[in-house]
Every structure is written in C-alpha cells, then in structure tokens.
Subunit: 241 residues, 4 copies
Amino acid sequence: MDEPTWVSRMTLPLSIASLVYLAAYSWLVIADLVGPPRTVALVLVAVTWIFFIVDYVVRLTLAEDRWRWFRKHPGALAFALLPVLRLVLLLDRVTQLPGLRRTRGAALRTGIAVYGGGVVVVLVYLASLSVLEAERHAPGANIVDFGVALWWSCVTVTTTGFGDYVPVTMAGRAVAVGLMFGGIILSGIITATLASWILERASRGHDDEEPATRGQARAILARIDGLAGPGDPQGPGASHG
Amino acid sequence: MDEPTWVSRMTLPLSIASLVYLAAYSWLVIADLVGPPRTVALVLVAVTWIFFIVDYVVRLTLAEDRWRWFRKHPGALAFALLPVLRLVLLLDRVTQLPGLRRTRGAALRTGIAVYGGGVVVVLVYLASLSVLEAERHAPGANIVDFGVALWWSCVTVTTTGFGDYVPVTMAGRAVAVGLMFGGIILSGIITATLASWILERASRGHDDEEPATRGQARAILARIDGLAGPGDPQGPGASHG
Amino acid sequence: MDEPTWVSRMTLPLSIASLVYLAAYSWLVIADLVGPPRTVALVLVAVTWIFFIVDYVVRLTLAEDRWRWFRKHPGALAFALLPVLRLVLLLDRVTQLPGLRRTRGAALRTGIAVYGGGVVVVLVYLASLSVLEAERHAPGANIVDFGVALWWSCVTVTTTGFGDYVPVTMAGRAVAVGLMFGGIILSGIITATLASWILERASRGHDDEEPATRGQARAILARIDGLAGPGDPQGPGASHG
Amino acid sequence: MDEPTWVSRMTLPLSIASLVYLAAYSWLVIADLVGPPRTVALVLVAVTWIFFIVDYVVRLTLAEDRWRWFRKHPGALAFALLPVLRLVLLLDRVTQLPGLRRTRGAALRTGIAVYGGGVVVVLVYLASLSVLEAERHAPGANIVDFGVALWWSCVTVTTTGFGDYVPVTMAGRAVAVGLMFGGIILSGIITATLASWILERASRGHDDEEPATRGQARAILARIDGLAGPGDPQGPGASHG
C-alpha cells in the first residue's frame, strides 16, 4: 500500500479519533474526574493519541523519500503531537466558498485567516484545559475553574498579562510560555497577511504600468524570429530564451 | 427600487440614527439611569439598532447577486452590528483633502490611517461604555466610573495590561477579549501600512532602473510589426501579446 | 526674507533653545522645585516653547503654498509641540558615516534606525519627567522618584505593563496612553524596517534573474530603430515609448 | 598573519572558551557561590571574557580596512560583549540540512529562524542568570530562585508582564529593559520573516506571468543584432545594454 491510499483510508477514523480525544480530555478536566471515570477518560485520551502517532509513523514509513516527507509535512507532525488540531481541517469547506479564491494571493490569505483563526480557537481551548488540570489542586493557585482558565488563556495569548490570574506550577507555566510565544507568532501572521494585502492593493493599477511579463518577453523573441522568416532556417531563432 | 438608490436615500437618516444610538447609549451608561429614563434610553438604542439591521437586510435583498454583495460589503455588516461605527464615515472629508492622494499607495495608506484611527477611537469609547455597564454593580468590581473605564480600555487595546483595573464579570471579560484581539489587529494594520510605505520609498529611484512595464513590451511588439511594414499583411503581427 | 533663509538663520538659536528647554524642565521636575526657582524654571520652559511656536508660525507664513508646506513638514510641527525632539537632529552626523548609505533602501533604513532610536530615547526621558511631575504629590501615587519613573516608562512603551507602578492621575494616565500607542507605532516601525531589509536580501540574486529594467526596454526600442536604418526617415521610430 | 588565518586558528579555542564562560557563570549564579569557589568562578568568567575581547581587537587590527571591517562584523562585536552567543554558531549544522536551502529567500528565512531561535534561548537563559544574581539578596525582591527567574524572563521577553514577579534593583531592571526591547525586536523579526514568506508564496505563479528578467532583455538585444547579420559590422550591435 502506498502513502496516498493510506491517507484516504484513514481520513474518517482520524476525524472521529480527534473528536473522541477532545471530548475525553474536556470531560476529564472540566468534570475534575476521580476514580474509575478518570481511568476511562485517561485511557480514551491515551488510545486516541497513540492512534495519531501510529498514523504518523506509518505514513513516514510508507513515504518514498522519508527525509523529504518529514520536511514537507509539518502539519502531520503537529496533528500527531496535538490530535485536536486536526479539527481545524473541518474548516476546509470555508476556504472553498465561491468567490474567496480569485487571485493566488487572496486564496493564500483566506487560507491563513481561516486556518489561523481555527488554530487560535483550538489552542486557547486546549491551553485552558491543560492549565486548569495543572493548577486546580496546587496550593496557592487561583486558576481553579474553567471560565477563569479560558479568560486567563485569552489574556496570555494576546500577551496582555493583567496578572489577576497567574499559574504557579511548572506545568501551568509551561502552558503559559507556549501561549505567549504562540501569541507572538499569531500576531506576526496577522500582520504579515495584512502587509501582503496592502502591498497587493497598493501596486494594483493600470495594466500598462505593471512589470512586463516573461510571457511578453518570449512573445517578442518569437516575433523577431518571425521577421527573420521561414526561408531562413540558419537564422537566429535556434534556441528560445 | 435598486440598491444604489436605496443607499443614497438612507444616507442622512442613518447618520442621524447613529448619533441617536451613541447619545442614548452614552446617556444610559454614564448617568447610570434607572426607572422610566432607562426605559426611554433602552428603547432609543433598540430602535436605532433595529433600523440599521433592517437597512442591511433591505440592501442584501435588493442586491442582484446576494452572496457576492455579502462578501463585498463587510463594512455594511459591521455598521449593522455596531451602528456607531458609521460615524467613522464622517472622516470621509479628511481623506479628500488636496495633496493627500497623489499615488495609489499613498491614497490607500491615508485611508487606512484616517479610518483606522477613527475605528480605534469609536471602539475604545464603546468598549468603555460596555465594560462600565457590565461591571458597575458587580460585587468585587473596580471599574466603576467612566474615567477608569476609558483608562482601562486604552491599557487593554494596546495589550499593556497593567492589572490595576480588571473586569470580573462574563460580559466585561468578553469586552476585554474583543479589545485585546482588536488591539493585535490594530497594531498589525499600523505595521503593515508602515511596511508598505517603507518598501515604496526604498524602491523609488532612477526611472531607468524600475522594472520594464507591460506597456513598453507592447510598444516593442508594435515597433517590430512596423519593421515588417504595411506591405506585409501576412506578417507575424497577427495577434498582439 | 524667504523661508530657507529664515531656517538657516534659526538653526543655532533653536538648537540652544531646545537644550535650555530640556535643562530647565529636567531641573524643575527632578529637583522638585518650589518658590522662586520654580518660577524661573517655568519661565525658561515657557519662553523656549513659545520661541519654537513662533518659529513654526513664521515659517508657515513665509511659505509660498501654506497648505502644501503644512503637509510636507510634519517634523516642524512635532518640534513646535515638543521642542526637545529637535535634539534628535544632532544624530544627523551618524547617518552620514561612510559606508552606511550604499543603496537607497539601506540609507532609508539607517535613517529610520538612527532617528527612530533617538526619538524613543527622548520620548521615554520626557515621559518620565512628565509622569513624575504629574504623580509625585498625588494621594495614593507610587511613581514618586525619577528612577522609578524611568523604569515605568520603559515598561509602558514596550506595552509590557508589569503593574508594579501605575499612574493614578489624569495627567499621568494621559502620558501612559501616549507611551502605549507610541510603543505600538515604534514596534511597527522596527518590524516594517526589518521586513524591508529581509525582502531586499531575499530578492537580491543573480543579475540575469532580476526584473528587466525600463532602461533595457528603451535600449531595445532604440536598437530596433537602428535596424530600420538612417536611410528610412518614414520608419517606425517616430515616437519612443 | 592575515585575519582569515587568525579566525580559522581561533575557532576551536573560542568555542571551548564560550562553553567555559557559560558553565562558570551558571555555576556561580545557580549555586549562589561564596568564598574561594566564587573567586574561582569569577576568574574563569573574567578570563574567558577577556579572551573574547582580545580576539576581537586582534581581528580589528589585522583587518585591511578597519572601519569597513567594524561595520561588516556586528556579530563579532556581539560575541565579544556576550561570549555565550557564540554557542549559536553550533546551529550552523542545522541550516545545512539538505532541502532547507532551495531558494535564496528560503535559505535566508531558515537562517533567521534557526539563529533567531538560538539567540532567544541563549538570551533568556543569560537574562535569567543575570536577574537572579542581581535580585537574590536584595531586600523586598521576589525573584530568588532560578526557576522563577526563567519564568520571569519568558514573561518579560514576550512583553506579557504578568507582574507576579518584578525586579526591584537597578541591575535587575536593566536586564528587564534589555529583555523587553529585545522581545520587540524578536517579534519584529518573526513578523518580517513571515511577511517575506507570504509575499513570496502569493507572487509565485505561472512562469509566463512573472516579471520579464534582465537575462531575457539581453537575449532580445542579442537576437536583434543577429537579425542585422554577421555581414553588417557597422550595425547597431556595438554595445549591449
């Protein structure tokens, strides 16, 4: 079996697995499970996570050039490490709406906006769950319910940092560091996308003032060869730029 | 009636409605109205808001291609959701000042700066009203007068977050999340506009070193055809790039 | 007298005035003057400030097209409002160092970096003085010595906002709002300058792959006319694109 | 001896010296040394630092054009001031991985990402050591162990500024100012690199629509000269643009 076949067969199972992962982890943390229900939720989280890692390893094994495949599929690695990110793929439909993909630049920016927004929502939700799990039972912690954890995640990912709620555990602070650096990258993506849009708008003008294209240069060369005429086989038209 | 006719007829009523909306909402919140005056102010806010939503629905209905109209008029949707944003349109005059629109890029940047600045002022003012309305009577809240609410909005929209004043209600925190993400987008717009200006300045130089234009390429093709001469109708000049 | 003559005659007096302004204001605030010395310092600040405003009005009056002069000289307006900003002009020498102005883009970026850095230093220093003057004797204020004021200004201009020191007066908060928005514009300028540098570096490559220039297009047109020959006055070379 | 010979001979000694510097400074601060061990660590730090400064002075002396060498080697100056930064050079290998340097822009961005990431890690680590050394024994300080110092450095470099831990000494605040401005430059570099990537992606399209190249323009000129023919030595092909 080759890698594309594997990918197409695994699409549905992996979508279901990412939903199971999200539901089990949310249930585990928000309900603050103890005893047997906690064990059940932990097993569900572990099994779905392992499922994603196995999928990644199988795809890497099936690839013809593994180092090349590894470089070309950072998204697959991100899905293996954080399975719920795969839910962002459901936004695929939005980027396909008619009229949103006119130019290459517009299509790229629409994709960045839609998937970028999706990644932010998923990361803020996951970070809220993780920080709540880490902090809830720590002495001196004040991030002890899910509403507060969500509020704290938003304050942190935008690098606002009011300081009304602050993590006190190693795990909670690791989540915070991820959110803060993630927030800087997020704001960089927003700015860069806006810059691309403004630059495209600013340079769009009269067609006669756009840079001459390579196609036009080739047309000029062909025209000159035409001048030399069909009765001139030793003419200068041997190789076309 | 077609959509442009409707738009031109509604310009004045909508401008008045946005002023009424702003005045009624400011009065309601800053004076902390109770009893019958509160009811009057709430009715004024509701009626003007509904007026804007009706206007949006009518324009969408009158449009020939509704999906296309929906995509092309995000501003109209923003006005329907936040009527006071329409006040920003009064800045129209500023962007028309002589000498500010020389190049296409300069006109775009002037527009972004003027409307962007207007949107920031209106949003910070509205956010101050909303957070004050949400927090004022909540237990443990410290954003309890309009001056403090304005100060807190500026600290939040710039993602500084001193933490001297912090919202404690769900509604107040929702306003904060809007301000923080709005602030990131605002700083992205400023950066992207500056980048466009620097790139235009850096590339502006000797005309001979600018990229050749499509107009020049067409001129070259025409000149070659001229070489072939008018007495050569079967010449290579059949179709021009 | 025309405007350039006025400017050249006022260069030295204005430089001295900006130093007097800075010294008098620093002395007034840092030494927390009272009684006659305070009056002397206030008079010095007022006189130098008025001197700058008069200079601006005279230049505006002498200009041929006043509206055009107003638009073209935002720096002169900034100097009139904040005389010490003029000290930044002393950095002129730095941008003239040999080897720093090779390309047009490099010269622009060097200028932005040198003057931008100078403006940040001057603004942080001025903001520290202003916030100290505003807060020092206010009840409940904690920005009460110059070292703390400098530290607070740096924390605010970078939009970090630790919250260990926070202004409590209207004037102090106005300074903070200026610093926070100034900081966002500052970080935008840094980012945009870096983006311009990276884009220039990324596109610099083999000369054959650079876009064809307008000069080359003109050379091609001239060459084609040469083909038609000097004995062909009715040739196609009538007008050159 | 010329400068390149010196550089190649000093590569290994300087790498060892930067590791010794890092180990001695870490040991000094984290173990909070007193008495003779502190003296040993301080001597090691001083000796390695002086070694780096001597290396810089020797290279500057050996250079043919010293002012030019000074401008062209800001990195060497940075290594002399902060020897551990030299560890970042070990990341050299990463940027050489196959497949990461396809286009000039991609190679530049890979280099920025790898070295930029390395510089951030080294600076955050060094800042944590420095702030801990400065604050640990100060009255009223709360940054008193290395874990807290690391957490505080991350919160500061991202300009989040929760305010749960804040430096109170002059030296600690100087470290903070460096981190905050460094963080703004860091986020500027991230944004500018992303912008370069998006702009390259957005403009990459059908080859026929790329701007015509200078190489093509030269090919056209050569072709026209070919038309004039080898039997036309006085032809217009004398000088090629």
